[in-house]
Amino acid sequence: MSGVTKARALKAEKGFSLIEIVIVFFVSLLLIGGLFATLSSSRNTWHRADAQIMLQEELRRGMRQIVRDLRQSGTSQISLPDNGLNYTSVSFNVTDGVLSSGAVDWNSDEVFYNLSAGQVLRTQGADTRVIANKVGSANFSRSGRVVNVYLQCQTQTPSNQVYSANLNSSVVLRNE
């Protein structure tokens, strides 16, 4: 291509006007903003759902162990007074069967549940285990043979939102 032809071709090329560029800029801005809003919303949804599921799992796991243990205790073997009031810990003995005399053979290692630094701990003898994390409060109360257990968990998402969940269970002591 000769130099003259090249110059004509360049002259024929039209550039973007200022208005076009501004419009494209704003449209792009809107699109990007919308995309970020969608992503942020999705991220929050994920965090919320993840937090709720995690809290439910913690609650269920902790409650399952507590209920299982409590059922094996009896009214004469539990520290909770029969007054319906809430206590933050509970200790009790569980049965191991009967002795040759016919008396109930209560396991000498007491089971103890308490809340410590956001964790529900289960202690029996020298063994201490964490049975639930992120626990905000744990309450135990007794009315007759029925023990009520209340657990409340909470967690904070990376975006500093706080989510909580709670679980309540009534357990009948199977032994007397």
């Binding site: 299982r68 009967v98 032994n175």
Partner: protein, 383 residues
């Protein structure tokens, strides 16, 4: 321009990709949570089935206590799974249980024993035996014996027995052992102190839990007895009757005739007596047994009261003194604590206890099979 349009498409793909990843993770988490939940639900169902197995065995053992060996094959429960119950007279280690004790091992399977996905197992040790000397005590508690208040403000004339721990001053518990008086012991009473030659208070853990009567048999007796203090009513007292303070029978013997045996007063709720009552009979404070056998109810007595008979309560028995006279002639059985607080008298009556023992024997009201020890096996045993 073409290149620019292409870049938007790529950006859109990128966003979609990120959204898909987030959605996928959320879906995955949700599926995991669903599985966790389903597992939990099935575990609860298996536990319920295992409890059904215990109930089934207990029911069968009412009529065939020593011979019932359990279910012959897994019992299917429509829509849930299967359970089975095995009954033996040995411990898990093969050692023998005490006489008249049986061990139920009940297992719940989801969905079936042949292909179990979830299994839960309960081990219950059951007894059906009338404790020695069940009718020999003024105070009989399957838990704690607690005395409080002023020393000697109360008076117990008869023996006492407890399963767990005593507390307070038990020195005023005495009884007459029917030996002739001697110069050294002109009254010949045996007292828990000082220097009693025989114990007036006995510790025996094997009396816990409290003997369970066949309540339906005693309720039938109460239903058959008309109450002279309430027109056209029998001796069954509902919670509403107690609220309205419907009068109790005032004598121990039904129609005041020893040949009729005792009044059987069946109290379906917590019993509270106060102020100037004179009541008589065998009081069974067992709560709404037919509706909710887990209810524990207490028997509380306070004020000026004379109880001409005996009280059996599955819950606690509290004798609150105050300034009034409190006399119980007969005895008290309590599944929970017995608390004697303040002034009062509990006097054992052999005559009344013999009458109650005869009634229990004639009606077949005791002993009923009752669970002594209940536990869940975590290391599942298939037998």
């Amino acid at each position: 321009m073409r290149n620019n349009k292409g870049s938007i498409l790529i950006a859109a793909y990128g966003v979609l990709f990120v959204l898909l990843i987030i959605g996928g993770m959320l879906f995955n988490r949700t599926v995991f949570e669903k599985k966790f939940y389903d597992r939990d639900q099935e575990s609860q169902m298996a536990f319920g089935l295992a409890e059904a197995g215990v109930d089934k065995a207990l029911s069968a053992m009412k009529s065939a206590y020593l011979s019932y060996a359990g279910t012959t094959s897994p019992v299917a429960v429509v829509g849930t799974g299967e359970y089975e119950a095995k009954v033996s007279d040995t411990n898990r280690d093969g050692s023998s249980l005490p006489t008249n004790f049986r061990r139920i091992v009940a297992t719940g399977y989801i969905p079936s024993r042949a292909q179990p996905r979830v299994t839960r197992q309960i081990e219950a040790i059951v007894k059906k035996t009338l404790p020695n000397n069940f009718f020999d005590y003024a105070l009989y508690t399957a838990e704690d014996l607690r005395f409080s208040g002023q020393n000697l403000a109360y008076d117990v004339e008869g023996k006492a027995i407890y399963a767990n721990t005593p507390s307070g001053d038990l020195s005023d518990i005495c009884y007459d052992n029917n030996d002739p008086p001697t110069p050294d012991d002109p009254t010949d009473d045996v007292c828990s102190s000082p220097e009693g030659s025989e114990p007036a208070v006995t510790h025996d853990p094997s009396i816990s839990p409290l003997l369970r009567f066949v309540f339906s048999a005693l309720r039938a007796v109460a239903a058959s007895q008309s109450n002279p203090n309430t027109v056209n009513r029998n001796n069954i007292y509902t919670a509403e009757d107690l609220k309205k303070k419907r009068p109790f029978p005032s004598t121990f013997y039904y129609n005041e005739n020893p040949a009729n045996g005792p009044n059987v007063v069946y109290v379906e709720g917590a019993m509270a007596l106060s102020g100037g009552d004179v009541v008589g009979g065998l009081f069974l404070v067992v709560g709404n047994v037919t509706e909710n056998p887990e209810v524990a109810v207490d028997s509380t007595v306070g004020g000026n009261i004379t109880i001409d008979g005996a009280i059996y309560t599955r819950g606690e028995f509290t004798l609150n003194g105050g300034g009034g006279e409190l006399n119980i002639t007969g005895g008290v059985w309590a599944g929970g604590d017995i608390l004697v607080d303040g002034g009062g008298t509990v006097e054992y009556s052999r005559e009344y206890m013999d009458a109650i023992a005869s009634l229990i024997n004639e009606t077949g009201a005791a002993p009923a099979p009752q669970i002594v020890s209940w536990k869940e096996n975590e290391d599942i045993e298939i037998i």
